[in-house]
Amino acid sequence: MKTKNFWAALATPMMIATLLLAGTPSVTANDQLSAAPAAVKIDNFSFGPQTVTVPVGATVTWTNADDIPHTAVSTEGVFKSKVMDTDEKFSYTFTKAGTYAYYCTIHPKMTGQIVVQ
């Protein structure tokens, strides 16, 4: 459901962008998309949204809103945050397409993924 709403919300601005940019190379549109940073909020011992889809080159920022420290660590060792205490952040820029599973090494029940396309 969450993913559906996300795409529905995205559809309209994307169509406008395409219309405005008609005639200019589509690369520009892509660049504009990648410039938009994505955010993951850590709240109530979970990553929200659990799946985030971003274009190649996007920066994802995690923010810890809990009263307990957490981490965001790639299961494949691609990225590894420091320990984030309350309100602390971690950012990572994804330069390659793929699906990146990650978890909190302190509370491993907490898992999420970043889909880069």
């Binding site: 109530n44 011992f45 979970s46 809990d66 009263d67 307990i68 420290p69 299961t75 320990v83 205490d85 309350t86 599973a101 990650y102 978890y103 090494t105 302190i106 509370h107 491993p108 029940k109 898992t111």
Partner: protein
């Protein structure tokens, strides 16, 4: 989300105010019994029992006793408890005032909030005031946050193996401190790991089945609530090694509340925190520090007194709150 948590806390406190019996906790206990597990304690109930038991014990002293403290989270300063050093101090004062002096103290982890040297320094300062001079530790996940627990191991892991596990004997009882907070796998709960399990099997091998065994570790060695990671993935393996013993007591922390289960000859028990309470399983959107009004805080924090009487089937575990 937050309101649900608050509703539960209000209800819990109201019950505590009325007669000290936590009905919500009691109902919870009944409900869980229905799923095939036997839960004998939950929430506020054991507190009133503890007083009766203590009075009972006053006359006939056991062979020895020790005290378990847990989850002091030194460095935590959020609204759930802005002064965790003070509440730890209260716990130590309470231990020092006991009529029967415990032989030693066991701390079942989460000594610190963020594994900082300054937090460990503060902890040491408070623990120095304990009349029981010997303190045994196992780490909680909060103590292993940096350098794979290097700071913790240097200070509290002398003579231990691996990530901090060890065993010792005291007056005929065999104690084993286990570590289930290191090298945790994505999607899993607590984990002991292959190397530690092998060591445990070896450590128990050749001991007489009549030796009372005490296992202690931070995360419960029995599955309390998997959704919140309140369990240890490979604890079954560890428990299979103690099956042949006549008396096994398993002491854990991590969940900041009392839970008890008896399965054959194995008694499982979790202790209160000295820092802040956490919600009962499934009663809030997630685990985490639970804020209660300041004047109620000491009613949900506490210590655990464990008495050993030779020849008795199991060790007597008595919880008492700080206030």
């Amino acid at each position: 989300m937050q309101d649900k948590k608050q509703d539960f806390i209000d209800q819990k406190l109201q019950d505590l105010n009325n007669d000290g019996v936590d009905r919500r906790g009691f109902l919870k206990c009944m409900a869980w019994a229905g799923t095939g597990l036997v839960w004998t304690m939950s929430g506020g109930i054991p507190v009133s029992q503890a007083f009766a038991k203590s009075a009972d014990h006053a006359g006939k002293r056991g062979d020895f006793s020790f005290v378990q403290i847990s989850d002091s989270h030194i460095g935590f300063n959020k609204p759930a408890n802005p002064d965790v050093t003070a509440t730890l101090q209260t716990a130590i004062d309470k231990i020092n005032a006991m009529p029967h002096k415990p032989d030693f103290i066991i701390h079942t982890g989460d000594l610190s909030q963020l594994s900082k040297p300054s937090e460990f320094d503060t902890l040491d300062q408070v623990l120095k005031g304990a009349s029981a001079k010997q303190i045994f530790f196992v780490p909680g996940e909060h103590d292993m946050l940096t350098d794979n627990g290097e700071e913790y191991l240097q200070r509290y892991g002398k003579g231990t193996k691996g990530t901090g596990w060890s065993s010792f004997d005291h007056k005929g009882v065999h104690f084993v401190g286990l570590v289930n907070v290191a090298n945790l796998k994505a999607g899993g709960m607590g984990s002991l790991g292959h190397e530690q399990l092998e060591w445990l099997e070896d450590d128990l091998k050749g001991r007489s089945a009549s030796t009372p065994i005490v296992l202690f570790a931070h995360i419960p060695l029995w599955t309390i609530y998997p959704d919140w990671g309140w369990g240890t993935d490979d604890s079954e393996q560890a428990l299979s090694y103690v099956k042949r013993f006549g008396s096994v007591t398993v002491l854990n922390g991590h969940i900041h509340q009392i839970m008890q289960k008896i399965e054959g000859k194995v008694s499982f028990h979790t202790a209160m925190s000295t820092a802040f309470p956490q919600p009962a399983p499934g009663t809030a959107p997630s685990a985490g520090p639970m804020k209660v009004p300041a004047e109620q805080l000491q009613k949900v924090l506490g210590i655990t007194d464990v008495n050993y009487v030779r020849g008795q089937h199991s060790l007597a575990v008595v919880d008492s709150t700080l206030g």
